[in-house]
């Protein structure tokens, strides 16, 4: 599978409309700065400014998109200024606008704008609404920087920038200790991944003398296989941290402590898919490393199973969706790990997922809005009658995520499973099988969520009398996203539109239509198999949960359920292996520092002090003993003189 020859990477310099591409980032960034600096003075109109900057960015994004379509070479680079130049290291602050980043720009600003609008209503009664919009704007700016940077360093700026925005937004209700802790956890686990990304950058510089995409990708052929594999694995570590993939998945469900729009935008639609973006962006590197691709696939497969299993056991509506996100991103990792035509499939799933998962989260937010912030699905039931729009849009998202044709999830998940089966050797069967089982499990837990929330008898807490539908500002966004969930997949997959568009980025790998590829199993057979699994999952869930469920969590009957409820012991593992030894080490070192090192220093001082206290005793105050000492000294001097003179 090694790429025979390196990709010829040619970026043309930006001109005309595209030379203003920096505005995309500058507008939301400016919005964030203005909202933060003006403080309470901007409380009245802050949310409007927040929406406006992202909205304008979206319009600009569309404009640039169509400009790019009209160009011959669709990879446009825009160098803004020299960021660092030291010795032979030079890196520009620059943007790369190519088909891949164009797609991401539209996703980020488009979904971002919808969620901004939704938040106007959702955060209406929150005194910190202006601050919320400032952070959201900051996030959009950082995320755009991430996908638009034209070097790994530029990407790294955005990478940690979105981490910061994510931290701020998870800890938005900072007075809740759980929120603060969850935010910190997210930041730290992201940092673990960032270390990998940073080390990959160091290796790239030491090997190729540059960290810009252009130099790196055209230099892949000159790198040894070992180096490429090392780089790919380190990049993967970074991707795992940001995308909540195994073994760094534990932060993502906790991140649901933040307001629901944040979960929708950052922890479902955009930021957590940055890892997929990174791997897709670095495809020339991954293509050159068989091991790297295999590991990416394995991580994706493991994570998608983990996400599904835990998703089945959770009762918190947002956490179920969070684990579903973990698992869906697992699919994307699997796809980009497979390489070749699957890159486009991965990106397609990323886009459709952006629509339906954001829609699902907004629906969950709408449910919570009407149910006094209740999140336990055991306490819902029968809500379809009271919240028709929410139920309808949520239902569309639900059908999309489990992959019912012709909704968008079908068009994106199905090709991934096909590609997985097509992987040569036994690994193809393994990954394909896991993806298939995952599809069934997804159908099961999503159906459980759907049934328990919207159908059956109400199991509400006593204080809720009349759940209500959300205001139009919120439902509009949900409706638009639902439309996207229905149509996006079909439109983008139609005549391989997305794959052809992305073709230049993946070096011609995605040009073939699925029909032209020789399949191990016929495509239709795979599709049928997937549908069988999905329908089985749906049926099972309907049968079990048709009558509703107990309003409290029941004791777990099997080991698997217990493990799934404990997040497969990932938190326990982290605590036992990293946190507690770390805390113990810190405490022990404080002791060592105070008693050991400082003790040594102070001990030395004490020894000198004690010694001089002893010596002090020689000063008896008796003049005659001093005289005797002087006499002795005189004798010594004379004796020494005699010895020297005579000796």
């Amino acid at each position: 599978m090694l790429a025979a020859q390196p990709l010829a990477v040619e970026y043309t310099a930006a001109s005309g409309a595209l030379s203003t591409a920096w505005l995309l980032i500058a507008l939301p960034a400016l919005g964030a700065v203005v909202l933060l600096l003006l403080g309470r003075r901007a409380d009245k109109w802050g949310h409007l400014l927040g929406c406006a900057t992202v909205g304008i960015s979206f319009v600009l994004g569309l404009w640039y998109f169509f400009t790019l379509r009209g160009l011959g070479n669709r990879s446009v680079s825009l160098d803004l200024y020299t960021l660092i130049i030291s010795g032979n290291f030079k890196v520009n602050a620059g943007l790369l606008y190519d088909p891949l980043s164009a797609v991401f720009v539209l996703l980020i600003t488009g979904v971002g704008f919808l969620i901004h609008v939704y938040s106007v209503g959702y955060m209406k009664d929150d005194p910190g609404r202006r601050r919320f919009f400032a952070y959201l704007n900051l996030f959009v700016a950082a995320m755009l920087l991430l996908v638009l940077g034209n070097s790994f360093l530029g990407l790294y700026f955005g990478w940690e920038g979105v981490g910061l925005a994510s931290y701020l937004l998870i800890a938005f209700w900072y007075y809740k200790p759980e929120a603060a802790t969850a935010a910190k956890k997210a930041f730290i686990m992201n940092r673990v991944g960032d270390v990998g990304l940073a080390l990959a950058i160091f290796i790239l510089f030491a090997t190729l003398g540059s960290v810009s995409y252009q130099d790196v990708f055209s230099g892949v052929g000159r790198m040894s296989t070992t180096t490429v594999t090392a780089v790919t694995l380190l990049l993967l570590l970074g991707a795992c941290g940001k995308s909540g993939q195994f073994p760094l998945q534990a932060w993502l469900p906790d991140a649901m402590e933040g307001p629901t729009p944040v979960s929708a935008l950052i922890h479902a639609a955009t930021m957590v898919t940055a890892g997929v973006y990174l791997i897709a962006r670095a495809n020339p590197l991954y293509n050159a490393s068989h091991t790297g691709q295999l590991v990416v696939c394995s991580i994706g497969a493991i994570t998608l199973l983990i996400g599904c299993i835990i998703g089945c056991a959770k009762d918190d509506i947002k956490r179920i969706l969070a684990y579903s996100t973990v698992s869906q991103i697992g699919y994307m990792f699997l796809a980009v790990g497979l390489g070749g035509g699957a890159y486009a499939a991965g990106i397609l799933h990323l886009l459709t997922h952006g629509f339906f998962k954001a829609g699902l989260f907004l629906g969950a937010g709408s449910v919570m809005h009407g149910m006094k912030d209740q999140v336990n699905i055991r306490r819902f039931g029968g809500l379809a009658k009271y919240m028709p729009i929410t139920a309808a849009t949520f239902g569309i998202g639900y059908l999309a995520i489990i992959g019912i044709p012709p909704l968008s999830g079908f068009f994106s998940k199905d090709p991934i499973i096909e590609h997985a089966f097509d992987r040569p050797g036994w690994t193809g069967w393994l990954f394909g099988g896991i993806a298939l089982v995952g599809a069934g499990l997804t159908a099961f837990y999503m159906t459980r969520l759907m049934v328990l929330t919207f159908f059956g008898k109400p199991r509400w807490t006593e204080d809720i009398k009349h759940p209500h539908e959300s205001p139009p500002s919120m439902t509009v966004a949900m409706i638009v996203l639902a439309v996207g969930s229905v149509a996006a997949g079909g439109l983008l997959a139609f005549h391989n539109a997305l794959a052809n568009w992305l073709n230049p980025v993946f070096g011609g790998a995605t040009e073939q239509t699925p029909a032209e590829v020789a399949h191990k199993i016929p495509a239709l057979a795979v599709t049928a198999l997937v549908l069988v699994f999905v329908l089985a999952g749906v049926a099972l869930a309907v049968v079990i949960f048709r009558e509703g469920t107990a309003p409290q969590e029941q004791p777990a009957r099997s080991v698997l359920v217990r493990a799934a409820r404990a997040n497969l012991y990932a938190d326990a593992f982290n605590e036992a292996v990293f946190m507690r030894p770390g805390q113990w080490l810190a405490r022990a070192l404080v002791y060592v520092d105070n008693r050991g090192i400082d003790g040594l220093v102070n001990g030395l001082a004490a020894a000198v002090g004690g010694g001089s206290a002893r010596l002090r005793r020689l000063q008896t105050g008796f003049v005659r003993s001093y005289a005797l000492t002087m006499l002795g000294g005189a004798f010594l001097v004379v004796a020494a003189l005699l010895v020297v003179r005579l000796g």
Binding site: S86, G87, G161, G209
Partner: protein, 510 residues
């Protein structure tokens, strides 16, 4: 401008001292006048420094504004002054920090055992000696400034400090003095070596041309190294710093950690590497190990602290580990990153100390447990606290990131293992900062918190320039790097080191 023979650097060194004398001569009752005069004087010094910086030609030869007058001609000791890019950024840092610190210390002189005007006079005297240390090019003169610098700081800690001020002041003084004496021995040793070579001199430019026997180099290197390692401070010579940092008045703590300690790392670059290239290479593994231990050890200890000021002091130990790693990686990027780190650390830790000072002023305690949920009552302070913290944990977009990145990037080729461990230190950095922020600002509001006012106008003026510089240097560090880079290149040439060539380009395979 710098071709003229006007002794700008002498003026710059003496100017604050004149101010110190003027402030000291004021009547003790004229507190407000003493404060205002000091502030005005530091601003004047800032203007002069800015003029010098503007006149500095990046592309011209390394040392500029060179002046030299005989002092003790029997031993060839001269008043030799001159700046290269490294020294220039440091004196600019001093000049920028001074007015900020003075304004931040507006109410600090009153709690001491001496009069308010003494506090401000000592601050000005400290500025004078610090500038002198960085601009002197005569080794003996450097030594004199290096030691004299201790005196005002000793009195600042001992007379105006917190609870354990006497202990901390004496500890600080003795530690530095011991190191200084080792250095004195080496300075004299250098003189002897240069005499034996037929040209007795203390001037850096003469000494750098010497070819010293490698065996002798090791001993002379050790003398300098111990002095600088204590000053910097490197593990395990660090225990004076938390005590001094916690006991010093906030303004003095900023200068102590932000500027004075940089004399140590500055000394590594200016004296250790060019004068003793063989010994530096020989000792590099040891220094790198100490640096890496410092990074991890400082971070872990910072996590274990209950006092904010001690915490910040321990984070500095971790940061100094990064600086030392960059210097002893012997690459342009590592060295440039290290110098930039010296500047950035002055800004970020300075800002952190200042905000901690704001909090202590309100709460009367620096204990982390005495806060909690404070962001609710003082959102602006929380905001600047957070940004300073981000700078300390080296988030991209803040100044420290660029320097930390350059240090690690430059270290990778020559010290891969150390770089991996140091990079992991980034995680710990995030932990200690966010832990402190969470415990003081987030979570439930501590019911014991007194009525606290948010950022006052004076405090806003104090912290605003720091925040602006933190962000500006985070996105646009090139002007500073351009000044530093040539000097670092020259240093590496003196030390006989050349940058590693990208392996793929040299045809080498990993």
């Amino acid at each position: 401008m710098n071709t003229s023979s006007f002794p700008w650097l002498i003026v710059l060194t003496v100017l604050p001292l004149v101010g110190a004398l003027a402030v000291a001569c004021l009547p003790p009752a004229a507190e407000a006048l003493a404060k205002r005069l000091t502030l005005a004087w530091t601003l004047l010094v800032l203007v002069v420094t800015a003029a010098i910086a503007l006149g500095f030609d990046v592309n011209a030869k390394r040392f500029q504004y060179v002046t030299s007058y005989p002092w003790i001609s029997q031993f060839g000791i001269r008043f030799g002054f001159g700046v290269d890019g490294i020294a220039l950024v440091m004196i600019v840092l001093i000049a920028v920090l001074m007015p900020v610190v003075i304004l931040a210390s507006w109410h600090d002189g009153r709690t001491g055992t001496r009069s308010v005007k003494t506090f401000f006079a000592l601050m000005l005297a400290l500025e004078s000696t610090m500038i002198g240390t960085f601009v002197s090019t005569d080794t003996f003169l450097f030594y004199v400034f290096f030691e004299v610098m201790l005196v005002p700081m000793y009195f600042l800690i001992g007379s105006f400090g917190g609870a354990r001020r006497q202990y901390a002041a004496v500890k600080f003084f003795l530690y530095s003095l011991v190191g200084g004496l080792f250095m004195l021995a080496s300075v004299i040793g250098l003189y002897v070596v240069s005499s034996n070579a037929g040209h007795p001199s203390f001037a850096f430019s003469d000494l750098a041309k010497l070819n010293i026997d490698p065996g002798v180099q090791k001993w002379l290197f050790l003398g300098f190294f111990i002095a600088f390692a204590i000053k910097a401070p490197l593990f395990p010579f660090h225990t004076w710093l938390p005590d001094a940092g916690a006991a010093a008045p906030i303004g003095a703590a900023v200068l102590l950690v932000g500027v004075m300690d940089k004399v140590g790392t500055f000394g590594f670059l200016r004296y250790c590497l060019p004068l003793f290239p063989d010994a530096s290479a020989w000792f590099a593994p040891v220094v790198v190990v100490l640096a890496v231990i410092g990074i991890i050890y400082g971070a872990l200890l910072a996590m274990g602290q209950t006092d904010m000021r001690r915490l910040v002091a321990y984070t500095s130990i971790a940061h100094f580990g990064f600086i030392a790693l960059g210097i002893f990686a012997f690459t342009t990027q590592g060295g440039t990153g290290a110098v930039l780190y010296m500047v950035n650390h002055g800004l970020s830790t300075g800002a952190l100390f200042l905000v901690v000072g704001f909090l202590i002023y309100r709460r009367g305690s620096s204990n982390i447990a005495d806060f909690g949920g404070a962001a609710k009552v003082v959102p602006w302070i929380a905001g600047v606290f957070f940004i300073s913290g981000l700078s300390s944990l080296a988030l991209p977009g803040t100044n420290s990131f660029v320097s930390e990145f350059l240090v690690l990037l430059g270290s990778w080729a020559n010290q891969p293992v150390a770089t991996v461990i140091a990079t992991a230190g980034m995680i710990l950095a995030a932990l200690y900062i966010l832990l402190m922020y969470q415990r003081t600002m987030q979570g439930k509001l501590n019911p014991d918190l007194p009525e606290m006012n948010d950022l006052s106008r004076r405090e806003a003026v104090v912290i605003a320039p720091m925040i602006v510089l933190i962000l500006a240097l985070g996105f646009f560090p090139k002007p500073v790097i351009d000044v530093i880079d040539p000097a670092v290149k020259a240093t590496m040439q003196d030390a006989g080191k050349s940058d590693p060539v990208p392996t793929a380009n040299s045809g080498g395979r990993k």
